[in-house]
């Protein structure tokens, strides 16, 4: 039982990060029908920046987190400019391929800038731990879950009530109609990318407090977050959160009870099973296209 709890806690910690990444995939997919493969690299960039900022100036942690979240949002806007505005025909496939190129470039810039060095943040409440049923729960795990709850809640409220959120949903539903009512598709795309970037940056700060982050941290994480988004149903917000935690927990339990060597394969096994059996995912949010 203790083992099970311990594995569950570690699954929740990583699952929270997958959930934030998956939420980013969901938002961009709704706004543009494209898959933003730079998502994982935003997380890495934010983790490295947060760690470097902390090392350099020791500002209060809240300042570090806010700064990287702001930077993540700006990265999102930059992505929209680079991957959508420059395209002659901004169709989803071209945007998706362009974000792959951007992701590779971001990773390469961080590689050159940091020379493979890894960065960490201290835990948001120090190294505090809780003891639950004999298992050790790091306080940071709770912080990361809280980040997901706050992010998902704020996002849901924003999309439900804020005028801009309503416009975003309208644009995702019927872009031409929304454009005819004065909300441009490019605007929708830019806001979607900005939100996705901010979420990824929050995940990056949360993860840097758990384990060291270097230039190579984002690629696999992004792909796993994508698997989580597919599991939940691409474009569904509750699906993204559920998918993220489901993949994090499955991975942790698999590592504990079956094989820690092959735990990394689990997310991709899930991705393939979802694609082959139910490509719309568990919570199909978007009108089902012929896939």
């Amino acid at each position: 039982m203790t083992d099970f709890l311990q594995l569950t806690f570690s699954g929740l910690t990583t699952g929270a990060a997958y959930a934030l990444v998956a939420l980013g995939f969901a938002i961009v997919f709704r706004g543009t029908r494209a898959i933003n493969f730079a998502q994982g690299e935003y997380v890495m960039l934010a983790g490295v920046t947060a760690g470097a900022l902390h090392q350099w100036a020791h500002p209060p942690l809240a300042v570090v987190v806010l700064a990287v979240v702001l930077m993540g949002a700006l990265c999102g806007v930059a992505t929209e400019v680079v991957c959508v505005r420059f395209t002659r025909r901004p169709d989803p496939n071209t945007i998706t391929l362009a974000t792959i190129g951007l992701g590779v470039a971001i990773k390469a810039v961080v590689l050159l800038a940091t020379d493979r060095q890894a960065y960490t943040l201290p835990g948001f409440s120090g190294d505090a731990t809780l003891h639950v049923g004999g298992a050790v729960l790091e306080a940071q795990a709770l912080w990361n879950c809280a980040l997901v709850a706050v992010a998902a809640g704020a996002l849901a409220a924003f999309l439900r009530w804020a005028p801009l959120g309503v416009a975003l949903r309208a644009s995702a539903d019927d872009g031409e109609m929304a454009a005819a009512s004065g909300f441009s598709r490019n605007g929708a795309a830019a806001w979607s990318f900005a939100l996705a970037g901010a979420l990824a940056a929050a995940a990056g700060a949360g993860l840097a407090a758990v384990s060291p982050v270097n230039y190579d941290f984002g690629t696999l994480l992004g792909l796993k977050g994508f698997a989580a988004a597919m599991l939940g149903g691409l474009g569904s917000m509750p699906g993204a959160v559920a998918g993220g935690f489901a993949i994090g927990l499955t991975e942790a339990w698999f590592a504990g009870y079956v094989s820690s060597t092959y735990a990394d394969v689990v997310a991709f096994g899930v991705l393939l099973i979802v694609l082959f059996t139910r490509p719309t995912g568990l919570f199909a949010a978007v009108r089902v296209e012929r896939v």
């Binding site: 420059f86 002659r88 951007l102 590779v104 470039a105 971001i106 590689l111 990394d264 991705l271």
Partner: protein, 322 residues
């Protein structure tokens, strides 16, 4: 629809490539340079295979790097454990990868567009992770040691130059086969299905079966490329077969021109140029690949070869109007 050119044009391209492959080892001398030339042939096989599924069939695959690695490991393990004669690796690797392509293709080619790309990406990443994790079989992250020197009967291919004279004809044959396939009835049908699926289906094209055949062929090309690579290096580790490798192959093929006979040749040439020019600055390589891709997919969706062809066609039409 992607064009394959007239038979005379195709023969001319093949003859020029043959001539290039013949004189290249005399232009670039030394073991190091000849090793890069073997790399050119390996990349030519990889890209020719990728061009079949991405270009002619229009289904963008990200599994090619994983398939390439699978070919390298199958050939390397057979050689290192001395299972059968060495030439058997060159038959077993393409066959094994073709078999895996069928297994991957059966469910994933039922998906369309981006969903197929994602499934192929998943399959490629799973293969890549297995190379690093199945330590008892593959040697894990440290790589597979003990790959023997390539001996084919009385021929001992122990230098890059000697391996080149095996790799170059194989690459040329592969290119010729791909050109023939694309121009054949099957190739015509698969290209038609890439342009308009409903129209091709209405004309009686068995779309799924032809796509599966094309995907399997592209896998076999990757398997052969892997076998060549492992015997040229005498060693194989997981690192060159990951997500970045899959993206790199897609980048150079897109930049060179998908769905053209010359595209894979130009693509392999670009990779050769990268290796020549960036030998001392391997950290800069991902940055250049990433930025090139970012620009190419948006500004030159038809690639270099395709853009030149569009320009020539435009000029010809302008002349005919006059």
């Amino acid at each position: 629809m992607s064009s394959v050119g007239e038979p005379r044009e195709r023969l001319l391209v093949l003859a020029l490539v043959a001539l290039g492959l013949l004189i290249a080892p005399f232009l670039f001398e030394g073991d190091y340079e000849h090793g890069l030339l073997v790399g050119f042939c390996v990349n030519l096989l990889l890209l020719t295979g990728l061009n079949l599924i991405n270009g002619y069939a229009g289904q963008v695959s990200l599994a090619q790097a994983g398939f390439y690695g699978l070919g390298a490991y199958v050939a390397g393990i057979l050689g290192a454990r001395a299972i059968g004669p060495v030439w058997l690796s060159f038959v077993a690797a393409p066959l094994a990868v073709a078999a895996v392509s069928v297994v991957v293709g059966l469910p994933s080619l039922r998906l369309r567009g981006l969903y197929f790309t994602m499934a192929s990406l998943g399959a490629g990443v799973v293969l890549f992770l297995l190379f690093g994790r199945a330590v008892s079989l593959t040697g894990g992250p440290n790589g597979l040691l003990g790959v023997p020197i390539l001996e084919l009967g009385p021929l001992v291919l122990d230098t890059p130059t000697r391996i080149y004279w095996l790799a170059a004809p194989l690459a040329l044959l592969g290119l010729a086969f791909a050109g023939w396939f694309a121009a054949s009835r099957w190739g015509l049908a698969i290209r038609a299905a890439a342009t308009s699926e409903p129209a091709a289906a209405a004309a009686g094209v068995p779309i799924f079966r032809l796509r599966l055949l094309t995907f399997t062929l592209s896998g076999a090309f990757a398997g052969l490329a892997g076998a060549l690579e492992v015997y040229e290096n005498g060693f194989v580790s997981p690192e060159p077969f990951g997500f970045f490798a899959a993206v790199t192959l897609l980048v150079v093929l897109t930049l060179a021109g998908v769905g053209t006979l010359l595209g894979p040749v130009v693509g392999a040439g670009l990779l050769f140029a990268f290796d020549e020019l960036l030998a001392d600055a391997s950290d800069v390589r991902p940055l250049i690949i990433g930025l090139l891709f970012l620009i190419t997919v948006q500004a030159l969706p038809h690639g270099l070869v395709g853009t030149v062809a569009d320009w020539r066609r435009g000029r010809r039409e302008a002349r005919e109007r006059r």
